[in-house]
């Protein structure tokens, strides 16, 4: 009996000791590396110029490295492989083979982004020109290595401490796209030690493309500089420690060994070794301790994209926290701006350090910042999820991290549905993005169908395609849109260069509201043959200064072709233009005539009395049509931001647009100016009244006999009422059967705009009278891009 009591006491003590011991050291870690060098002949991933050919030589081995980290709450495998990308086929195969020690949703797969390791693991023919022919044997070999690394790392696990630190480098990387552009100088380091302070693993985070292998060695297998980083740091650390390289926000970052004129493999090796030495220096200052782990993953829907046929609609985002260190994992190649902004926000949220890791779990190509949107940078052209992708990531990671929301951050502002009184203009107000979104949401049906009608369908039928003959060579059974649409957006995006951010925000908001990619709204704004262009039939005329209204009047007629079927019939697109009264958060209030699903305008007046009307008079060709789309955006911009005629004229670049377009700019107390674009472009004052042919002034029936009326007659003096009446006399009582007609009379002196927009085949509608001034009731809430991303 006594012996039993003793045994019980001993057992209790042992259990207590075990519990205390477990409580004292919950963190465990283990690491391993496995060689996954493919056989010669394996396709390599990363360069289209390689033509998909197989490897011909091996310079250094390809490895996959696994780090197991676990405490009482969290277990993760962090994997870093000497590969270009983690594509979906590889991810799926790895998870099939992965050991069950750690939940599969806690396996973080990353690639160092070397361009000289095996490809051939992407099945889709859309990407084989870069990744090479699809080889299941290579996929199996590689995935098997991942699995073995995880098994071995788990088997090697032991009680451990972990610490982190950062250092700065000024001579290892540069911005490869913009001279003196932003770069990430941070080198981040995680040190994992056993309880004897011997290193188990070291993780380095550094942002630069591993593309240092020269083109002459393009068919040679190599891990690039990360391979030599691994080799050197492991040599410095000893104890058979395993090094992992996590590439940072390296989309536009290159290696740059400033001042060292190195060639060939020497450049590759030196880069890796220099980085290792920097990392080793940082390691010396790291105090490893027991830090809590936190890991969270989400599978989330991505913003809409024109490349939806070849890219996924959702992806995985991971956040790993080790004490006060935050790691954010991107499923592709973020440009450095995204990483820097995310870090700034993380530090503001109280994290001690933040690492961005690229090429994690998925490969969605590049993620470019908003400011690249109108450029032709390669990173932008390969960035498929819209200009707001940086905000989107910021918001998504913000939700995943433990210190996610900043003070003041909350739910996005909910905008009410856009409504108006009968006969009144549509009221818009607030930030441009919110206004666009409100409009896109209200007219989503039309926007989506307009995109289908004037962009997607012509592309499918090859009436519209990017530059190059290849699109016409494709056999008839091929639908080129999966590639042609994104390429066309790449071609036309620079047309937006130089426009105010408010205009781009409006396009982005309109697209978001309509459920379209931003590129779709862009293409719709610029597409040839779209309705709503001034080339559809526009004319303007003026009675400056000498009219009954002291400041002169501007009359404008604008016609838009009406589709054969309407929304009411269950199909088609509404092309009826409408009047919008806009009170933007920034700039002047204005009224404009525009189609509901376009950002640009053909005619409008702002609160300063600045009037702009557009006209296209040249041959109807694609160049003019695209240029006119841009001009409509410029017109919208100058309505919002011009306080005077002079300021408005300064925004119109004569040389930048082709011949065949004119703008008319008037303002109170100024002679109206006609701006003709193209090489022979000029700005000419319009000193006298001009009425277009067919317009009659005076009571009906007398006009035709009045020798002073119409046919370009000059020197007329009209009241606004007479001018309105004259506009209707151009047609026989009703709008043509196939066109909607917009009649507008601007009275800049009184800031009044009269509009009569008559649907095709209808009798003239009544004139609406719009006083152009700020409307404080136009909006109560504002919605910005950043808010919406959140």
């Amino acid at each position: 009996m006594r012996r039993n009591k003793e045994a019980l006491a001993w057992g209790f003590c042992m259990a207590l000791a075990l519990l205390v011991a477990a409580d004292a050291q919950a963190l465990q870690a283990g690491a391993a590396r496995i060689d996954i060098t493919p056989p010669l002949g394996a396709p390599l991933n990363g360069y289209g110029a390689r033509l998909g050919r197989g490897a011909e030589d091996v310079h250094d081995p390809i490895t996959v490295r696994a780090l197991y980290l676990g405490d009482e709450n969290t277990e993760v495998f962090l994997i870093a492989a000497d590969l270009c990308i983690i594509n979906r086929e590889l991810r799926e195969r790895v998870l099939q083979l992965a050991p069950g020690a750690v939940p599969h949703e806690n396996i973080i797969l990353t690639a160092t982004h070397t361009h000289n390791a095996q490809g051939g693991m992407v099945e889709s023919i859309a990407f084989r020109h870069v990744s090479g022919p699809y080889r299941e044997d290579i996929l199996d070999l590689t995935a098997q290595g991942f699995s073995e690394a995880m098994v071995e790392a788990y088997a090697n696990r032991e009680e451990a401490n972990v610490g982190f630190g950062t250092g700065n480098q000024d001579t290892l990387s540069r911005n490869r796209r913009v001279d003196e552009g932003p770069r990430d100088s941070q080198i981040g380091v995680i040190l994992v030690e056993d309880l004897e302070s011997e290193p188990i693993a070291v993780v380095a985070n550094f942002a630069a493309h591993p593309t240092t292998v020269s083109s002459e060695d393009g068919l040679t297998i190599s891990a690039d500089y990360p391979g030599f980083f691994h080799e050197r740091i492991e040599e410095l650390l000893g104890n058979d420690a395993v090094a992992l390289f996590l590439n940072g926000a390296a989309g536009n970052q290159s290696v740059d060994l400033e001042g060292q004129n190195l060639e060939g493999w020497e450049r590759v090796i030196t880069t890796g070794e220099l980085l290792a030495e920097e990392v080793y220096d940082i390691v010396q200052d790291i105090e490893a301790e027991e830090l809590p782990l936190y890991f969270r993953r989400t599978e989330t829907s991505l913003p809409p994209t024109l490349a939806s046929s070849i890219l996924p609609a959702s992806t995985w985002l991971d956040v790993l926290e080790i004490g006060d260190l935050l790691l954010c994992f991107f499923p592709g190649e973020p440009c450095v701006e995204l990483g820097l902004e995310l870090r700034e926000h993380a530090l503001a949220r109280g994290y001690e350090a933040q690492f961005s890791v690229s090429q994690a779990n998925d490969h969605l190509f590049y993620f470019a910042p908003r400011e690249y949107y109108t450029t032709s940078h390669y990173e932008q052209e390969m960035s498929f999820y819209g200009p707001g992708i940086a905000d989107w990531f910021d918001a998504q990671f913000g939700r995943l991290m433990t210190r996610g929301q900043m003070p003041g951050e909350g739910q996005p502002t909910a905008l009410g549905e856009l409504t108006r009184e009968d006969g009144e203009p549509w009221p818009l107000g607030g930030a441009s993005y919110g206004m666009g979104r409100q409009r896109g949401s209200r007219f989503a049906y039309d926007a989506q169908n307009a995109f289908e009608e004037w962009v997607a369908k012509p592309v499918r039928e090859r009436q519209l395609h990017p530059a190059g003959d290849v699109w016409e060579w494709l056999p008839g059974f091929i639908d080129p849109s999966p590639f042609a649409l994104p390429f066309l957006a790449n071609e036309w995006r620079p047309e937006l260069d130089g426009l105010a951010q408010d205009i781009l925000d409006d396009i982005e908001g309109l697209a978001m509201g309509a459920g379209l990619p931003t590129d779709a709204a862009l293409l719709l704004q610029l597409a040839p043959d779209r309705p709503g262009g001034a080339s559809g039939g526009a004319t303007w005329f003026v009675t400056p200064g000498d009219s009954a209204d002291e400041e002169g009047l501007v009359g404008y007629e604008f016609t838009v072709s009406a589709p054969s079927s309407s929304q009411e019939d269950g199909g088609g697109v509404s092309t009826l233009p409408d009047v919008w009264r806009v009170t933007p958060a920034e700039g002047a209030a204005f009224a404009m005539v525009a189609l509901p699903w376009q950002t640009g305008t053909v005619s409008g007046m702002n609160e300063h009395g600045v009037v702009v009307c557009l006209e296209a008079f040249g041959e109807d060709d694609e160049d003019i049509s695209v240029a006119e789309g841009r001009l409509q955006l410029v017109a919208r911009e100058l309505l919002q931001f011009s306080e005077s005629q002079e300021e408005a004229l300064s925004r119109l670049d004569l040389e930048d647009l082709p011949e065949g377009l004119r703008a008319y700019v008037a303002a109170p107390g100024e002679l109206a100016q006609v701006v003709t674009f193209g090489p022979q472009g000029a700005v000419e004052p319009r000193a006298t009244s001009v009425l277009p042919e067919g317009m009659a002034v005076g009571p009906p029936g007398e006009a035709e006999d009045d020798e002073d009326a119409g046919n370009g007659e000059e020197g007329l003096s009209l009241s606004a009422a007479e001018l309105r009446e004259a506009l209707h006399t151009r047609h026989a009582g009703e709008a043509p059967a196939d066109r909607h007609v917009a009649h507008i009379v601007f009275d800049p002196g009184s800031r009044r705009m009269y509009a009569a927009i008559t649907p095709a085949g209808h009798a003239w509608v009544d004139w609406s009278d719009v006083l152009v001034e700020p409307d404080p009731d136009a909006y109560e809430e504002e919605l910005t891009v950043e808010e919406d991303a959140a």
Partner: protein
């Protein structure tokens, strides 16, 4: 002399007669009845005598004349043909028509439509003026005659021509002797019945047209003129078709329109059937011999089709090796200067210089298919005959990779045994144009592994029959390859008209049909002024399908 009593049993016939005619019917009645029956038989034979030959109601000048042989008696054999399973849509309809029970007893149809049928007319678009003639049996003729007593047909006096028509149907007919003449056009029928002998087809010509009947299931000739859709291409086409459950043979003879034959004179002049080289075994096999070197042939084709890339290419053989290298360098530089992607090798130059001097006999086969290449890629094997040491010289002069060549340039490389020179091009190991010296000339393939296999097979192959062009297709692997390629295109939404699901359904249907055909073979040759084409389909019994 003895007298024996003999007993004669009564005869059943008497009893029968007694039963049939009664004991009291007199002999004259019986005799009269026999006479009536005999008279009826004589009348039947008389009215169904064959007084009107088929050709006498067929106009001499017809755009088409087509015979069908005993379709009704043979319909079970025809319905069993694998061909109907292989032809989408219409094939199943025809098979069902052949297989279904007719609305009238078969013996009636056999007696009316059971023999040779002949259709002729001039309208090749609507066939509204088709005239169909056949010879009925005696019984068929009588059935038709007595059917007039019922409501099934209506009389049409037609000025004494005694036409008949089917009520509610746009179908008119007349009977002359045992000859049945049918047409949807009443005017056409009247015209046929009132033909003067000089306007009718001669017996000799009719005999020649239906010469194959009895052996072939169908045959005939079609003449085209400028008003017809095919008139711009063909002057006439004649054909003969025979269907068996596991074999279908179609022989056609085409006379090209003078414009086309003039246009293609450069290629076709002096053409006659020639020995064809054996193509390598594969899902598609082509063998051709146009009597002139391949380069000349392709240049001629390029001239006719106005394709400068073919017509103006320099098809002369490679010069000596150093000059070949220089030629290649110049071409690669030109590509860069012209703004083209310099990474692409001048494949055109490689092909023109290597293949142009070969021929006249050459063969091309699709031996396999790699769906996983950088683009889905058929495996091609080519063999070109050449005289003397030309192939060896070509092989030796093919430019090999010089020192310092960049990745973007393509030069030949030798395999370890030196037997094959291959050209790393775009993609992986399935796209490496390869060349070797073969028994009868030069062999080439889309990759070196295919070429090696082709060289090993070379000795075992048999030549096709003489002709100018021979093509053999194995539909099953070919359909599988095409379906796989389309599926890959479909997966990126780039295939018009299909989703992945609808393509899967369609591909399953294609494969089902393709499996019914083991092979399709075509042999074409120019014979005098006519192009003779023989097509043979070999079926696979349904139970052998995987």
């Amino acid at each position: 002399m003895s007298e024996t009593l003999r007993s004669f049993p009564s005869k059943g016939g008497l009893k029968k007669n007694k039963r049939r005619f009664g004991p009291h019917q007199p002999a004259w009645f019986r005799n009269a009845l026999i006479l009536i029956v005999a008279g009826l038989i004589v009348h039947a034979i008389w009215v169904s005598r064959d007084t009107t030959p088929l050709h006498s109601v067929l106009p001499a000048q017809q755009k088409y004349g087509v015979f069908v042989s005993e379709v009704l008696p043979q319909r079970e054999r025809l319905a069993a043909s694998f061909v109907w399973d292989a032809i989408p849509g219409a094939g199943e309809t025809v098979r069902d028509l052949l297989a279904q029970e007719p609305p009238v007893p078969p013996w009636i149809l056999h007696n009316i439509l059971g023999g040779l049928g002949y259709a002729a007319g001039n309208d090749l678009e609507s066939f509204d003026d088709v005239l169909f003639v056949t010879r009925m049996s005696h019984i068929g003729a009588l059935l038709e005659r007595y059917s007039r007593l019922g409501p099934w047909t209506e009389s049409d006096h037609a000025g004494g021509l005694r036409l008949r028509r089917l009520p509610g149907e746009d179908l008119h007919y007349a009977v002359r002797g045992r000859t049945l003449v049918v047409s949807p056009s009443r005017d056409r029928l009247i015209q046929a019945l009132t033909l003067r002998p000089a306007e009718a087809m001669t017996p000799e010509r009719f005999g020649a047209t239906v010469e194959g009947s009895g052996v072939e299931d169908a045959g005939g000739v079609i003449h085209f003129d400028d008003t017809d859709a095919w008139g711009g291409v063909l002057r006439s086409a004649s054909f003969a078709l025979r269907l068996e459950p596991d074999q279908a043979d179609l022989k056609g003879e085409f006379v090209l329109a003078s414009e086309v034959s003039g246009e293609w004179d450069l290629v076709l002049s002096g053409l006659a059937p020639r020995p064809l080289p054996p193509p390598a075994e594969g899902m598609v096999q082509l063998s051709a011999n146009f009597g002139k070197p391949l380069g000349v042939l392709l240049a001629d084709v390029g001239t006719v089709l106005e394709w400068p890339a073919l017509a103006e290419a320099d098809w002369t053989a490679w010069p000596e090796l150093e000059e070949s290298l220089e030629l290649l360098r110049e071409a690669q530089d030109d590509d860069g200067e012209n703004g083209d992607d310099p990474a692409h090798p001048p494949v055109g130059l490689m092909l023109t210089k290597t293949l142009g001097a070969l021929g006249p006999g050459f063969s091309l086969s699709v031996t396999d298919f790699d769906p996983h290449e950088i683009v889905p890629m058929p495996e091609l094997t080519f063999q070109g005959e050449s005289a003397g040491d030309l192939a060896r010289a070509q092989f030796e002069r093919f430019p090999r990779e010089p020192e310092g060549a960049s990745l973007a340039q393509s030069y030949g490389r030798e395999t370890e045994d030196g037997a094959i020179v291959y050209l790393p091009a775009i993609g992986g190991p399935s796209i490496e144009p390869s060349f070797a010296v073969a028994a009868r000339g030069m062999a080439a393939a889309s990759n070196r592994h295919a070429l090696r296999r082709a060289l090993e097979q070379n000795a075992n192959e048999t030549r096709p029959p003489q002709g100018n062009l021979y093509v053999r297709i194995q539909p099953e692997p070919l359909t599988e390859a095409i379906s796989e390629t389309l599926m890959q295109i479909c997966k990126i939404d780039a295939l018009k008209g299909y989703t992945i699901e609808s393509l899967e359904d369609a591909a399953e249907d294609w494969m089902t049909r393709a499996r019914r055909v083991e092979s399709a073979t075509m042999l074409a040759g120019q014979n005098d002024a006519a192009l003779v084409v023989e097509i043979s389909l070999r079926g696979r019994p349904a139970q052998e399908q995987p």
